[in-house]
């Protein structure tokens, strides 16, 4: 079973991060590095990425069959996607256990969503 762990940021978490000392930030990166290492070792990691700042994002509305990119994420969004893990593991319980290790989890900014597949049903 594949699961997507989505890590969001919100104004509060962004502010918190900006106030962090270098040592605190290094600690945060360390937690991510360790989690990546553990998931690679168990074979459960497929891919993980941190996304660049949302100010670098482009929106793609299509007008007259032409895509015209405009700056920024969806204007009204307060919570923005900041990164993700795509993992493959045995159960939702295990996926939740992994997601709980993401530093943003205590802030309520981490989401786990099952990925759909092509499995046949009723074997």
């Amino acid at each position: 079973m594949k699961y997507m762990i989505l890590i969001h940021s919100n104004p509060k978490s962004r502010e918190l991060w900006e106030e962090f000392s270098d040592a605190e930030r290094a600690e945060g990166f360390g937690v991510y590095a360790a989690l990546n290492e553990d998931l690679a070792a168990s074979g459960e990691l497929i891919v993980s990425e941190a996304l660049a700042d949302a100010s670098l994002s482009k929106r793609i509305p299509v007008t007259d069959d032409r895509a015209i990119p405009s700056d920024g994420p969806f204007a009204e969004a307060k919570e923005l996607l900041a990164g993700f893990f795509l993992i493959e593991c045995d159960s939702m319980d295990r996926a939740i256990e992994i997601a709980g290790q993401v530093p943003e989890a205590p802030l309520g900014l981490v989401e786990v969503r099952p990925v759909m597949d092509l499995s046949a049903f009723g074997m």
Partner: protein
């Protein structure tokens, strides 16, 4: 059969034997497995053009030995001093019968220190003789993920202290059960409605059947090994009728049974019949027996539901589980009517393992549909469609919902 296909089949047959010979000689799973993989790749490139050598196994062992020496030379100087010259001599081509080696290898790849995803990837490469790219395509994950999974799995086996030898008798049945679970996972992984190009995709169902056959050759007395093989044969036999040309799945009740593979059914039925008569009963055997009853019905209406219900009763007593409960309820409805099934479903739903599960909605929708309550059936088909993780199942459930009034 083309030369390339014949060569491929031969290589995959020889892969675990060659690796077994290496492990028996050196014991270093990591380097040996990499060296054998490279020898297999060389053979796959050369043999279709140059012809298969007189002793294919000897050829592979020679090439893999050379490759292993090269790898060894690239290792650190410290490591070099520790090795002795004798450890560089290639193993004899036929040191002992290969049968035990292949089984030992399978048990090692399904070692309890590994997660199931790693067991599956390692088994497909080291025992199945597939290369990393083939394993990746078959499992629908990136090649780099598979490469990493395999190399980390080998490190974990090493760290756990496991060696290339048969586990002690006391652990044997538990370890074989783990192998059966991995083979079952491989089969299920292949049991999809993939409508994409399968041209270069190894059929995992066929691969699982091949490996389970090999295991049965080594353990002919084991009823659960035979049961799993029969279950795979009887399930895979329906494959030609299972998918519409547009990729949609066809449920059992609507399949064109004329398309089923009669030979596979005959083999599966004979195997499960013989096994049930001689071996201690187990969950795979019972699931195979249920599949056999379905496969033996010429038309869906001819299905012997009382017998299926009796088998589910037995399965529920020896290996209870939420899916067994639900499948049994469908059988109850087929024997005693949809209302009886709905009553049992309401009771079963109180089990936390089933509460909120989309399959409960799917079964309820089906039973309401049977009972003629199309409005309620439509709501539950929709609920089930929202809850499933399977794209083909979602498509099926949505179309059922749409066909209600």
């Amino acid at each position: 059969m083309s030369t390339a296909t014949a060569v491929e089949d031969l290589l995959r047959e020889l892969a675990p034997q060659v690796l077994g010979a290496f492990l028996r000689r050196y014991g270093d799973f990591d380097t040996s497995e990499d060296a054998v993989q490279e020898a297999l790749l060389s053979a796959a490139l050369q043999w279709p053009n140059d012809g298969v050598p007189d002793s294919p196994k000897g050829w592979l062992i020679r090439v893999a030995s050379r490759r292993r020496i090269e790898m060894w030379r690239n290792e650190s100087a410290r490591r070099r001093r520790e090795e002795t010259a004798s450890s560089l001599a290639p193993p004899e081509p036929e040191p002992v019968p290969a049968d035990d080696d292949a089984l030992t290898l399978l048990l090692l790849c399904c070692h309890p220190a590994l997660t199931p995803v790693s067991q599956v990837a390692l088994t497909l490469r080291a025992v199945g003789g597939l290369n990393t790219a083939e394993v990746a395509r078959a499992l629908l994950v990136p090649e780099a993920t598979v490469a990493q999974r395999i190399s980390r799995a080998k490190q974990r086996i090493k760290a756990s202290g496991a060696e290339f030898r048969m586990p002690p008798e006391a652990e044997r049945s538990e370890r074989v059960a783990a192998v059966l679970h991995v083979l079952y996972l491989i089969f299920n992984e292949g049991y999809t409605a993939s409508s994409g190009s399968t041209l270069h995709r190894v059929e995992l169902t066929s691969e699982a059947i091949r490996l389970t056959r090999q295991l049965r050759d080594r353990l002919p007395e084991d009823g659960e090994v035979a049961g799993l093989l029969a279950l795979m044969l009887l399930t895979d036999a329906r494959r030609p009728a299972r998918t519409r040309p547009d990729g949609a799945l066809v449920p059992l009740a609507e399949q064109d049974r004329g398309l089923w593979d009669g030979q596979a059914i005959a083999e599966g039925v004979a195997l499960i019949t013989e096994t049930l008569a001689t071996a201690p009963i187990g969950p795979y055997q019972l699931q195979a027996a249920i599949a056999a009853v379905h496969d033996e019905a010429a038309r869906f209406e001819d299905t012997d539901w009382p017998q299926i219900l009796a088998l589910y009763d037995l399965l529920q007593s020896i290996a209870p589980g939420p899916m067994v409960t639900l499948n049994r309820i469908v059988a109850v409805a087929m024997v005693h009517g949809p209302r009886a099934g709905l009553e049992q479903l309401a009771a079963a739903e109180t089990d936390p393992a089933l509460a909120g599960h989309h399959r409960v909605d799917a079964v309820r929708a089906h039973l309401l549909d049977m009972a003629g309550d199309q409005h309620a059936a439509r709501d539950h088909y929709r609920l089930a469609a929202r809850g499933t993780l399977s794209v083909p199942e979602q498509r099926y459930l949505e179309s059922r919902a749409a066909s209600m009034f």
